[in-house]
Amino acid sequence: MNIETEELGKAVLVKVSGRMDAENSHEFEQACEQWITRGTKHVIADLDGLQYVSSMGLRSFLSVAQKLQSDSGSLLLCGLHGLPRQVFELTRLIGLFQVFDTSQQALATL
């Protein structure tokens, strides 16, 4: 898994690519927490390059979203496709998150 972050004004863009599994999903949480402790309210996770996510990855998304929401923030998802999208759909998490096609569309809602 590779993680790149970028500040986009009202939000931080976190680009996740590769495979997010039991061995590495904590890295996504850590990357987001670094921004949350610095006062970031909104995180946009760009998942266009994500090929695989297991339930450990889903736990990380839920955990980050719950932390942001508890402080009036949000985790927005974009670029979700393929197996990761199927996994979000099967577990009905798709309805709990705001999901956009692109990061620009997500940013425009903030």
């Binding site: 061995e23 297991s54 339930s55 450990m56 736990r59 197996l83």
Partner: protein, 141 residues
Amino acid sequence: MDSAARRLTLPASVESVALFRNFVRSGAVAAEVPADELEKLDLVLEEILVNIARYAYPAGNGAAEVAFAPDGPGKLYVEISDWGNDFNPLDVEPPDFSRGLAERPIGGLGVFLVRSLVSNIAYRREEDRNVLSFGFPGPGE
């Protein structure tokens, strides 16, 4: 499981998941399981093996065995065993989908995913062994 089955035994740990995955993938490719199903097979193996490491061996030491055999064209029969605590993953309650984001429990999703992606999943306790068996791919959506 017949004599054509292949077996691999390794420590039940997160670090072993990749080795088990490559082992079963080789069998899935040989059995002509469709290529676009292989990552779902990875997912099923990861979920089951992580559960074994967490619940069958809470103290952290123990082995898991993965065995598979071809089960007709494009299909694989898989058995995953451990020698840990009596643990039937099929008894795990399904996630409560009625809850919103703030209240959605973090957990319980792995077993639910496994059940969604395989066919004929069954658990049995065989002397001191937990055995989970299933067919792959599942019935499809």
